[in-house]
């Protein structure tokens, strides 16, 4: 959808719709419309949880040919995001990376980096500097 935008896209995946949306709001406040952004929160019924179909839609909505960085909270969000990325199929799945970083801080810092036109690798590396290795 946003394939023409030169900046890396950001996707936020949380078990909670409120956390996902709230994080996206904070990203927007920081970078406005400069970065393709989407979120997925909760299970298919709107309760706490994760759902692969929703994550797939979020990745499509924040798509950039320059890559998409995904931020997740707990285990199921990560596993379902990996599944969704695989379902994109190659070569697109190779353009999406899950960041090992705190969801809120990671997404905001990554978006700031992405809004300056940084590559996916640089965006991911900047967010992951937040994680103790």
């Amino acid at each position: 959808m946003n394939g023409k935008i030169a900046n890396v896209g950001i996707v936020i995946v949380s078990h909670s719709p409120l956390v996902a949306k709230g994080t996206a709001d904070m990203v927007r406040q920081m970078v406005g419309d400069g970065v393709p952004l989407s979120w997925c929160g909760g299970n298919a019924e709107g309760g706490l949880g994760t759902n692969t179909a929703g994550i797939l839609e979020a990745i499509e909505a924040a798509w950039s040919d320059h890559g998409v960085a995904v931020f997740v909270d707990l285990g199921g969000a990560e596993t379902n995001s990996e599944m969704a990325i695989e379902m994109l199929g190659q070569p697109r799945s190779g353009l999406v990376a899950i960041c090992n970083a705190p969801i809120v801080e990671g997404a905001v810092i990554a978006a700031a980096e992405a809004s300056g036109g940084a590559s996916l690798a640089k965006v991911v590396a900047t967010a992951e500097e937040l994680s103790p290795s």
Binding site: H15, T52, M83
Partner: protein, 204 residues
């Protein structure tokens, strides 16, 4: 093809029934060491497969397994969706590419390894793998279906003594000990139900 149809339909119904009958108990197990939604999630997945049963049972077994796996991924949610989904998707793919020299136990073994990779976990981590691997061992030994079912049940119970190494239960550390793992429990229920179904199953 008619054989596949009856078999696929029977297995879909059997799995849905056993999960529906135990969904509350699975949620209860999950409340103790997780987020309490395992039964609800599994039921949602099995219901989605059941709704699609006419289309699925019209497919060759390999293709049906792959599609059922995909449906589970899209509908279970939680970590279980990708794990159960991967198991069936891989079984379907391996069976499809290997149709002429089918060693079903070997196919199941490879699919279980794929589940372990997906969850980045291994035997002893207090997950469904602690049921899948012992079941696989019995399959390789060509044990009777009753024996495989018993192994599944016993293996799930043994997870009570384990400390969770993966998933949300791992946050509890030693406090996860003493509780049966919900994923291992649903896996044992499904394996047992499938064994009982196959024991009665007579191809037309």
């Amino acid at each position: 093809m008619q054989t596949d149809r009856t078999l696929i339909l029977g297995l879909i119904e059997t799995c849905r029934e056993v999960i529906a009958a135990h969904a509350d108990h699975l949620c209860e197990l999950d409340r103790a060491i997780g987020d309490g939604d395992h039964g609800t999630n599994m039921r949602r997945g099995c219901d989605a497969v059941y709704v699609d049963r006419d289309r699925l049972s019209g497919m060759p077994l390999a293709q049906a397994l792959e599609k059922i796996g995909l449906t589970l991924v899209m509908n279970i949610g939680g970590a279980s969706g990708p794990l159960y989904g991967t198991l069936l998707i891989e079984m379907g793919r391996k069976l499809g590419s290997n149709a002429h020299k089918t060693n079903f136990a070997a196919i199941v073994g490879e699919a279980i390894d794929a589940v372990a990779r997906r969850g980045r976990s291994q035997e002893g981590d207090k997950t469904l793998l602690d049921v899948l691997y012992p079941v696989h061992t019995e399959m390789v030994r060509q044990s009777a279906l009753v024996r495989i079912a018993d192994t599944a049940k016993e293996s799930a119970q043994l997870t009570a003594g384990m400390r969770a190494m993966r998933g949300r239960a791992s946050f509890l550390g030693d406090r996860s000990i003493g509780h049966v793992d919900p994923g291992a429990s649903s896996c044992a229920l499904l394996a047992t139900a499938i064994c009982h179904y196959l024991k009665e199953y007579r191809p037309a």
